[in-house]
């Protein structure tokens, strides 16, 4: 048990975690880089300590500096948030060697899920549906690779075992491309992920991205908290998320959700996590598990009424979950728009000083943000400055509320993607629901073609 929680992150999630910690009566310690000195969320921390220079590799990725800060401030536990060190097994090892608690799963679970081949093998063993393809790394000789690919049927996708998040993969459409593609992917896998293993899967042409939120305690309880649709992506970055996923048979979701919870029990998973799936033609295919809280967790919180971050901390304290699966009922519909400090056309980041803000409010509107007027957005990090979340009785009401909230939301002094989000909330395809993961890219391409034609 601990009474002080160190938050090894920045921005909106640093604020979100602090709120949960304070709600539990915990002292909070925030660590920050020199670029984040003076950030508003540091003011509400019981203690804040600078852990290094602005570049993340010197500060937010500096494992030993963060553990040192925890020891110096008397923090008994470290919450990693998302990104940075949240899925770094060595970080967990270092924290535990120092006698501290990591808010999240064991290093072993993180390692298993970080190795995409091992993860797939564990999922197949637990009965979670996976993309067709072997649950092992590819052999070196091209004849064997070809045989595997022929059996799966083209197109196939080659992926780095150490990759994830859309990185380290290559689509192969015919047998004569296979040898060159395998060599290249293997080389990239070694270079970027320090693991030359690659594996092969069936390439799904037009899938949706649907994911299952799980939450598990250290006493054998594993719950799934419903699903989210995060198909609106640009360059593998989610832009809009919603819960539940529109137009999918609920009994199928339930079956997959149960299998995810079961997989958690089998691998001894503790904490919050997400099973990411591709969904196509009524079938789910596991792609990877994120062993942390995710950016889009609020949409699940809105439809279930469950405070995921609070429960995540309680689970790390060793407390049992008092909920059972039958207590988890989803109600209504929730949508989240990521608000980024970036140009809505070029997507170039737009760091700078916020000179004024008008915040959206109203029934069913939630804004998770760390910025305020006068805040200067550092250029070194992710450009996300806010998450606008709405809840409605149904998807239609949620859409109406999101349109109104986006119309009311102003951030002055910098450029944001609010206008882009507003356009998307009126787009016929999105409004109809159930678009695939390529939809937004195509939409953006069409938009630039149109504006090019108009000019």
């Amino acid at each position: 048990m601990f009474d002080t929680l160190l938050i090894a992150n920045r921005g909106e999630i640093a604020l979100r975690i602090q709120r949960a910690a304070k709600g539990l009566g915990l002292r909070t310690v925030c660590v920050y880089s020199q670029a984040d000195a003076g950030a508003p969320y540091l003011e509400i921390a019981d203690e804040a300590i600078c852990i290094g220079p602005a570049p993340a590799r010197n500060s937010y990725l500096n494992v030993d500096a963060i553990v040192l800060a925890a020891l110096q401030t008397g923090a008994g536990a470290i919450h990693p948030g998302y990104g940075f060190l949240s899925e770094n097994a060595e970080f967990v090892d270092t924290i535990q060697a120092a006698g501290l608690t990591f808010v999240g799963p064991s290093a072993k679970c993180i390692r298993t899920m970080g190795d995409k081949v091992a993860a797939k093998r564990a999922m197949i063993a637990a009965g979670v549906p996976c993309v067709p393809g072997p649950d092992s790394a590819l052999p070196a000789d091209i004849a064997s690779i070809k045989a595997v690919a022929d059996e799966i049927g083209y197109p196939v996708i080659l992926k780095a075992a150490g990759g994830g998040g859309g990185r380290g993969m290559r689509v192969v459409r015919s047998g004569d491309e296979l040898a060159a593609a395998a060599a290249l992917t293997r080389e990239e896998a070694q270079r970027f992920f320090n693991n030359p293993d690659i594996y092969i899967e069936k390439f799904l042409q037009n899938p949706r991205h649907v994911e299952i939120q799980v939450l598990c305690d250290a006493h054998g309880t594993a719950l799934w908290l419903g699903d989210r649709d995060c198909s609106m992506q640009r360059r593998h970055q989610k832009v809009i998320e919603e819960a539940p996923a529109p137009g999918i048979d609920r009994s199928l979701i339930t079956e997959v959700g149960e299998r995810c919870a079961n997989a958690c029990r089998q691998i001894g998973y503790v904490g919050a996590g997400t099973f990411e799936f591709l969904y196509e033609d009524g079938e789910f295919y596991f792609i990877e598990m994120n062993t942390r809280v995710q950016v889009e967790h609020p949409v699940t919180e809105m439809v279930t009424g469950i405070d995921i971050v609070t429960l995540q901390i309680q689970v790390a304290m060793g407390l049992p979950l008092t909920l059972s699966q039958s207590d988890i009922v989803t109600h209504g519909h929730s949508i989240e728009c990521r608000i980024n400090a970036e140009d809505p056309y070029s997507f170039l980041p737009s760091p700078g000083t916020v000179t004024g803000m008008v915040l959206p409010a109203g029934e069913g509107v939630r804004l998770d943000t760390h910025i305020r007027s006068g805040y200067t957005i550092p250029s070194q990090y992710d450009s996300m400055i806010a998450k606008l979340i709405v809840h409605g009785e149904d998807r239609q009401e949620a859409l109406v509320r999101m349109r109104a909230a986006l119309a009311a939301f102003e951030v002055q002094g910098i450029v944001t993607n609010i206008a882009l989000q507003a356009d998307l909330m009126r787009d016929g395809g999105f409004v109809a629901g159930g678009v695939n993961i390529h939809y937004l890219e195509h939409w953006l391409t069409a938009r630039s073609a149109q504006s090019g034609a108009a000019a």
């Binding site: 290094g52 010197n58 990725l61 494992v63 030993d64 500096a65 040192l68 270092t94 060697a97």
Partner: protein, 327 residues
């Protein structure tokens, strides 16, 4: 390369000692202050057992012909590396051409110059310690002298750019109050043959380290320790820490370079975990003996180990953080 520019006699290469050759009449040797040696090695990310130069008499100076990680530990002797004054118990990267000078100590007795990877001399019977009696180990089995060249086991640095240090071991492992060096002592086999007055004197009086003290043993002055009646003992094994009492009644504590056999009656033994405290006692210093049980002695060893591990963990963490700050 490390070139000895000036040294008094008795500077020599030592590690934690040679274990397992008593039956051949080969004693332990090894650093007199094993904690300083261990701390220096931990700061440098060396093996705890890596060899260093033990410097009992100052001044002492060396020149480095290549960049090398160094740590100067133990006796608090005004230390300069080039024109930079170093704090006590400090590890830093020395640059090629720099001269390290250790001046007369303000406190303590023996200084240790540890280097990255340890002093690279051949291992003899499992140790790099100099065995003066047998003339082996260390550098050709002898004391160091002006002009000697030694090399370090490692060239690359494992230190944060500005170096790092460690607080005094005595603060972490305190024992006794006042100016005297306190060490815990187990009564030895002939303890019961000494007079009641001698027992009282052993535990309650101040003992002074006399000038007849060296790595073999410390002769003490203070009270006279007397036996009820004289005994004749056969020669028997003697280990560092044994307090012998020759006929004159002035005790001698056997230390690192002690002979492996002896015939004097033994009144007690300084526990293993406290021998390092004697390593920094110099002639004229006061000693006090604190009676300990066998269990106390084992617990004391555990405490030393826990302390060294905590220093190691923190030094490793700081090394990692510092690498992270400049990567």
């Amino acid at each position: 390369m490390i070139e000895i520019l000036s040294t008094a006699p008795l500077s020599m290469v030592q590690d934690t000692g040679r274990v397992g050759f008593y039956r051949d009449g080969v004693g332990r040797c090894g650093a007199m202050d094993t904690i300083s040696l261990a701390l220096g090695n931990l700061l440098l990310a060396n093996d705890r057992n890596a060899a260093a130069i033990e410097v009992p008499i100052l001044p002492f100076s060396v020149r480095f012909s290549k960049d090398v990680d160094i740590a100067v530990m133990g006796a608090d002797c005004a230390t300069r590396l080039g024109d930079l004054e170093l704090p006590p118990d400090w590890a830093i990267r020395a640059q090629a051409g720099e001269v390290l000078t250790l001046s007369a100590p303000r406190s303590g007795c023996r200084a240790y110059l540890c280097v990255g990877g340890g002093i690279d001399v051949p291992e003899v019977l499992g140790s790099r310690s100099t065995q003066l009696r047998g003339e082996f180990g260390g550098l050709d089995g002898r004391m160091l002298r002006k002009g000697d060249q030694l090399s370090a086991g490692r060239g690359e640095t494992r230190l944060p750019p500005a170096g790092m240090g460690v607080g005094p071991a005595l603060a972490a492992l305190p024992l006794g109050e006042g100016g005297a060096v306190h060490v815990r002592v187990l009564p030895a086999s002939e303890y019961g043959l000494f007079t009641v007055e001698s027992h009282a004197a052993l535990w309650e009086s101040d003992w002074t380290v006399t000038p007849q003290s060296n790595r073999s043993g410390y002769r003490l002055s203070g009270s006279q320790l007397r036996m009820e009646s004289p005994v004749e003992l056969r020669s028997h094994g003697v280990v560092p820490g044994v307090i012998q009492v020759p006929a004159g009644g002035a005790p001698i504590i056997q230390l690192a370079d002690a002979a492996t056999m002896g015939g004097y009656p033994k009144i007690g033994t300084v526990i293993e975990a406290d021998l390092w405290r004697l390593g920094q006692a110099r002639p004229g210093d006061m000693l006090r003996f604190v009676q300990a049980s066998y269990d106390d002695s084992l617990l004391a060893l555990d405490q030393v180990e826990t302390y060294l591990r905590s220093v190691e963990a923190m030094a490793t963490r700081l090394r990692g953080a510092a690498a992270g700050w400049i990567r």
